[in-house]
């Protein structure tokens, strides 16, 4: 531990626990906690569950749009707005404009907008469109990442920049698309770059100044990973130097394991949870071994970054199965016993129910069609592999692997959990792929990938769905099949209504118990963002969502783009019809009864 980290750890002990009603404390709000949406996933457990119930399964059929706003930006509008008090905040994709809407006035005029200086080069370094996954509100500040490797804190009241710090190196392939997590006075951030061979990390910044207080790698030598000898207890692995010895040829140095998804926090255990992305490059034979801790979930102490446990969903990932999807914390009853669970829908097609204190796997079952493995062995925590669906440069073009490298669900599409129905709700994608890799050469500033991977439709005659999942038993409860891969996040409420969007631009509400669609409306562009709900100053409940096709679909469906006459693309299999139904956009939609 460095001297700086020691000081940081001591300072941590003196901090008062974060209050549930910070907005009022900051003099911001007349709204209460349940009417607001102050962090990306609604709460630290990342449930995306709202206790609001004005809109319920009896009246949701009357939902209709009441307000829209063009962000002025075309591109994948992932992420979600925040609502603090009587203000709604929206972060756009690059160039990462922050809008603050006054919810007390008709038409929601802007209080201010903040336009940071952000490098256009980040657009080409970000692997998969210039997305942003949202902001976090804490201590009177809106904190979020700019695509070019900076974190900013903006005064939530005035829109003035409080601090702006560089956290990542664009020249080395690092971009910053994830939403920060603020715990006490730490801002936890990470960088994307699994397609550029970065050396993945997370950092803890000081909320007051933005100064980096600790930094920890997700791979590499123990001392760089925040491993203290007596504190790191992974559930299935023993020994030192796992982060180097599981990478042949010292491949950890350019091994990826980026952080671009979601983070959650358990205040009782004082642990943050986040997933890491794919190991680099895609040719797995260049990195013999398990490649720990890529494609894994890591549990750390937020105060100083100490690594407490880690579990790898996909050892020696050979399919680009990032594990950056949300880690949802819920208290479940499994086989008659209470379990403090962590539930994760992985790109690899399995849904995992873990003991979040130890990292041990309790339940692991497929939620989407898959064939790269037979099952997950609960004793070892390892997948039982299908020998015919492994990949590598010596194996040539391997056909018909499910799911595709887009995953059984995109990590950009977080699930929701209702403590009322005890069900999880998630989008899914049902595509398979051929996978042919080549030996990739690391050339700084260029992609470190080396794959040709065309997609095909998955089994069953549909490309995606939205489903309800019982994580205690590992089984599907209901499923709404969709024409295209489903790419939105989920929202569920105490009205037992679940909300989601489709890639071709339908915004839907459904009965959380049965899946029956209660309302649907065709918004201006495909939905890859996450719906939220809030209570406005008029006392009514509203639901907000972004329309703005993009993210991976900016790459996969280049024919949905119409703003660049110098870039004309043919439709791509298997979603050849998508451009018939939608095109790129960037619109905030609000719905009400």
């Amino acid at each position: 531990m460095s001297r700086m980290a020691h000081i940081a750890a001591l300072a941590w002990l003196a901090v008062v626990p974060v209050c549930a009603t910070c907005a009022q404390a900051a003099g911001q709000s007349t709204n209460d906690a349940e009417g607001q949406w102050t962090m990306p996933s609604k709460d630290y457990a990342a449930t995306r569950f709202s206790t609001l119930g004005q809109i319920n399964r009896q009246n949701a059929r009357a939902l209709h749009p009441v307000w829209t706003f063009s962000t002025g930006v075309l591109g994948g509008h992932e992420g979600q707005p925040l609502v603090i008090g009587d203000t709604m905040y929206v972060v756009t994709p690059w160039p990462n404009v922050l809008y603050a809407f006054d919810l007390t006035r008709e038409g929601y005029p802007l209080r201010w907008k903040y336009r940071p200086e952000v490098s256009s080069n980040a657009i080409g370094v970000a692997c998969c469109d210039s997305v942003n996954r949202g902001a976090f509100y804490a201590d009177g500040k809106i904190v979020y990442n700019l695509l070019d490797g900076h974190t900013v804190a903006v005064d939530a009241h005035t829109g003035r920049e409080v601090w702006k710090v560089q956290i990542a190196d664009l020249g080395n392939g690092e971009t910053t698309t994830m939403a920060p997590l603020v715990v006490h006075d730490r801002v936890i951030v990470g960088a994307a770059g699994g397609e550029f061979g970065i050396y993945g990390w997370v950092k803890g910044l000081d909320l007051a100044s933005g100064r980096t207080l600790w930094s920890a790698r997700n791979l590499g030598p123990d001392e760089e990973m925040g491993i203290r000898a007596d504190t790191f207890r992974p559930p299935y692995d023993r020994g030192a130097s796992l982060g180097t010895e599981s990478w042949g040829n010292e491949s950890w140095r350019t091994g990826g394991a980026p952080v671009w998804g979601w983070m959650s926090y358990d205040p009782e255990l004082d642990l943050i949870y986040y997933g890491t992305g794919n190991p680099s490059p895609y040719n797995a034979e260049q990195r013999p071994g398990d490649n720990k801790w890529s494609a894994s979930v890591l549990a750390r102490k937020p105060g100083d970054g100490t690594l407490v446990w880690a579990y790898q969903f996909t050892p020696h990932d050979s399919w680009d199965y990032d594990a950056t999807g949300a880690m949802v914390l819920a208290d479940l009853t499994v086989a008659g016993k209470p379990l403090k669970a962590l539930v994760h829908f992985d790109k690899n097609g399995f849904a995992y129910t873990l003991d979040r204190a130890t990292g041990r796997v309790v339940v692991a079952q497929p939620f989407a069609p898959l064939n790269w493995a037979q099952s997950i062995d609960l004793q070892s925590g390892r997948p039982v592999l299908n020998a015919a669906r492994q990949t590598g440069v010596s194996l040539g073009n391997v056909k018909g692997i499910c799911p595709s490298l887009e995953g059984g669900v995109s990590p950009a599409s977080p699930p929701a959990y209702s403590p009322r129905t005890h069900l999880f709700y998630t989008s899914t994608s049902n595509m398979c792929m051929d996978y042919q890799v080549r030996h990739a050469r690391h050339l700084k500033g260029t992609p470190f990938v080396g794959v040709i991977s065309p997609y095909i439709a998955g089994p069953g005659g549909y490309l995606g769905s939205f489903l309800a999942w019982d994580a205690a038993s590992g089984r599907k409860v209901w499923e709404n099949k969709e024409q295209f891969p489903n790419w939105s996040g989920a929202l569920v409420t105490a009205g037992d209504v679940v909300f989601y969007g489709t890639l071709d631009g339908w915004f839907k509400s459904a009965d959380a118990r049965t899946g029956e669609v209660l309302s649907k409306f065709k918004v201006g562009s495909g939905i890859v963002g996450n719906p939220i709900t809030y209570r406005a100053p008029d006392g009514r409940q509203y639901v907000a969502v972004y329309a703005g096709l993009g993210g991976d679909w900016a790459l996969l469906a280049g024919d949905t783009r119409s703003d660049d006459p110098s870039d004309v693309r043919a439709p791509a299999e298997p979603t050849t019809e998508i451009a018939r139904h939608t095109s790129m956009g960037g619109i905030v939609w609000i719905f009400a009864l």
Binding site: S120, N121, A122, I123, G124, V125, A126, C127, C128, D129, E195, V393, Q436, R438, H439, A440, R441, L443, G445, T446, P447, F448, V449, G450, I452, A554, L555, G558, D559, D564, P565, S566, D567, V568, R569, A570, P571, E577, A579, R580
Partner: protein, 164 residues
Amino acid sequence: MDFRPVRECLAVRRQSALLILVGLLLSCGSPHPTQQPSASAAPPAVAYEAHVVAGDAPIPGGSLRNPHAGDPAVARSGALLFTAMNCDGCHQDQGVGWVGPNLGDGRWRYGGADAEVFNSIFYGRPRGMPAFGAALGAEGVWTLVTYLRSLPAPPDLPTESWQN
């Protein structure tokens, strides 16, 4: 696309210096020996992207000529270079477009004349196109230009229709 020629070429003649590697790739891919690339072979910078000229006054230094224009053997070398330099990571196999634009549609954001494509690769472009001039040398960049110009544009480019 078959990557084996690149791999064998790399395996046989593994070198650390990038320019040497590029030179070997060029000679691997082409039946004819090509001139050794070097940074000193770079032309004077033409750092503009506008194609409207004020007063019909031509910009000095703007007339570059592709020494390999239309040479199919050089185009084949360029295809190997396109993957070896990770161009496919952004522009996809055969340049059909990914996070970077389609390079095979016959349309060009910064101009499609040989010299304009050369400048885009040599000096880079905004929105993330790296400058490859120092890594590739002029000869390497011309080889890529020759490859890109050899890509056939698809038919019915301006119209996408759904008939059913």
